[in-house]
Every structure is written in C-alpha cells, then in structure tokens.
Assembly symmetry: C2
Homo-oligomer: 206 residues x 2
Amino acid sequence: MANETTRRKELLVAAARLFSRKGYHATSMQDIADELNILRGSLYHYIESKEGLLYELMELGVRTLLEQVRPIVESDLPPDEKLTRLIRQHTVTIAQYPDFMAVFLHELKSLSPPRREQILAYRKEYENLVRRVIAEGIAWGTFRPVNERMVTFALLGMVNWVYQWYSPDGGLSAEEIGAIFGDVVLHGLLAGECAGEVRPHEPSPQ
Amino acid sequence: MANETTRRKELLVAAARLFSRKGYHATSMQDIADELNILRGSLYHYIESKEGLLYELMELGVRTLLEQVRPIVESDLPPDEKLTRLIRQHTVTIAQYPDFMAVFLHELKSLSPPRREQILAYRKEYENLVRRVIAEGIAWGTFRPVNERMVTFALLGMVNWVYQWYSPDGGLSAEEIGAIFGDVVLHGLLAGECAGEVRPHEPSPQ
DNA sequence: GTTTACCAATCAAACGGTTGTTTGGTGGAG
DNA sequence: CTCCACCAAACAACCGTTTGATTGGTAAAC
C-alpha cells in the first residue's frame, strides 16, 4: 500500500500547496512533513533537497503549460483564433493547477542560478510561442503592426496575473474569464468605430 | 552629518533593494546591516521589527501609486483619455521605483494577517480607481459594455507584471511601453474593421 | 570657554529557537 | 531475506531580537 509513486506524488502536491500559500522560504521541511505525518528527515527518502523539490514543482508547472498551449500554436488555425484559444487555455490551466502554476510564476528567484536558468529557458520557450502567434497575425494582416515584444509582455501579464486573484467560486468559470480576456485583446475597449459586439468567430481567412 | 532621517532612508532603500532582488524571507537582517556597514542588532534603533520594515516599504509603494494615479481618475478628462494616462502612469511609476513596487507587488503573503489586511485595503482602493474609469467609459458609451471586474483584472495584470521584466536599458522608455499598452487595450489587436492605426487622440466626446 | 548633561548611533554579546540535512537503525511486507 | 518507508537523534549554522555598555557630538549651564 502507498507505493513509492503515489506517496511521492502526495509529497509534491502537499509541497506545492504550501509553497503557493506561504511561499517557498516561509515553508519549512517540517511543515511539509507534518502534512504527510512523518518526520522531516524522512522527506529525504523521496527528494534530494528542498531546492530540488522546488525545481521539480516549477518544471512540472511550465511543462504542463507548454504541453497544453503548443498544440494550439502549431495548429493551422487563423492567428486570431489561435490567440483566442491560447489565452483561454492559459487561463484554464492556471485554474486547473493553481498551486503548481503559482509556484512557477512566483518563486523563480528562490532558485539558485543554475536551476533558475533552466526554468528561464522554459519560460522563454513559452514566451516565444505567444510571440509567434502575434507575429503570424501581423504577417497575415489580421493584426495591426504593433510592437510584438511589448504585446507579448502585455498579454503574458494579463494571463499570468490570474493566479493572484482567481477563485473557483468567483461566479465565472476559467473558460469564461479567458474568453473575456481574448475578446478585449482582439477588439479593444473602444465602442463605435469598430463593429464592437462579441459576435461569434467565423473560421474564415487566408 | 547623516542625521536620523537620511540614515533611516538609506535603510529603507537598502532593504527595498534586497527584498526585491532576493525576496523578503531570503533576506536576513544581517544582509541589510552589511549594506549599511553596521551590526544587525543596530538596525533596531531605526525599526521595530523586520516585518514592520516590510510593511513600511509596501505601504510606501502603494501610496506612491495611489498618489500618482488618483489625480488622473478624478480629473474631468474623457474616459478613454483617463485610461490611456492611467496605464502610462502606472508603468512609469513602476519604472521609477522598481524596488518598492516589486516588494509591494510580490510580498503580500509575507505579511502577518493584520498588516496584510491593511495593504489589501490599499490595493482594493487602487483597483476601484481603475474600475471606476472602466465603468465611466461604459456609461459614456465610449467603451463597449464589457465585464468591468474582469477587464479591471486584465488591465492590472498587464501593468503589474511589468515589474517582472522591465529594465531601464530595454530600448523603450516606460512612457513608450505604457503608450503601447494603452493603445492595445483601447483598440485591440485586430486590423481591418477598425480605423486601426495609432492616430493621435482627439479630446472629443460626450 | 570650560564643564556638564544629554542623546542619537552604534557595538558587543548573548538569547532561545529553528533551519536543512545526515547518519544509522528498525519494523514490516513481499 | 531483502528492501522500502520511516524513525530517532544529532549536526552546525543561522535566525530575529534584546540588553547594556560605549562612543562622539551638540547644546545648555556656569
């Protein structure tokens, strides 16, 4: 009973929850051990070090995000549809794994430089996915010729910040939130000059 | 020379820099004292506790932001112009006091509950400022009838995230970044249906 | 203009407590 | 009989904070 794999997963889940709620440095090995009802020394049967544990959680977070979003970017949907789905999926993923995503998004500076570089590489990879969609949209003429880099940051900020305030009992589902975000990014806030309303998407172009 | 006030400010500045770079819990009183070339016990001549110091830094951060942005919201400019200026000013403030703003935006959970509530009240106050501009824009018919609350969060995420990546030698000034952000939020990314280009603002409406 | 009193700024040293980690042992299940 | 999962105990290091003494300068008293 409680074979290695499941017990280890319990450890990761407990650690993710504690790290996301109290922060990495404010969480002691004691805290984690208490959650599993074992002594803190026993944790080292499963992990190599506290920081190694943090790294594993963060890597789990980014890779999940990458796996969920990459198919969208690499599909042959039109750029505006890609962007809509990307934003929605990113939001949904945060809502789905809030603890892991919060740790990934919040604890980068708690890693020692070598491990931090690793995670930064993943993050860069993700940023490039987003940026590619923007660039594609501009090339198609679907998007206005904006500053790719800045729009990427604007977009990432919008969706990454979700971990700071999202609650499952907030009235709106993650899908709905993502849809609103996508709508604002594509159409902007201004009324009038544009058609404006949130009319359903027509899978048209090229 | 080095009267109480200036020496104390040195302490606050050093602490803000360390907290923003390494994080609150990863920074020891020793680290701060080293920066001022005194012993760590001597810090308590200026502050009451480490957490009291953190609170002071965070309060400084939010209040600065509030002071810089409130005049814009309470002016009698049209809503779209208010929003443009708000976004730009928020970005500029982060670029102006990156350490204090990073501590404010990153270390909320390092505060004990009573002090955290205080800062949350300030944050709520700021959120309401932003939300008021959105609501106003919708009431004027300047903005589309979007979900106020969600758009507020989208906007805050976009500008708050700036502390994570902004660097003064990044090619663009904070003003320019803020202007791009404002443009995207107002007009959206889509080309075509709208007039589209970043034409200068006409102070028109009602 | 010297003495006296004061006070801000800092040192020196200690306090109990907690930290992450290591080592060697132990019980029980397969 | 083996080996996984955990215990028990210790380790040195560091933590935030307190206390009492010690400077150096400044301002008032004589």
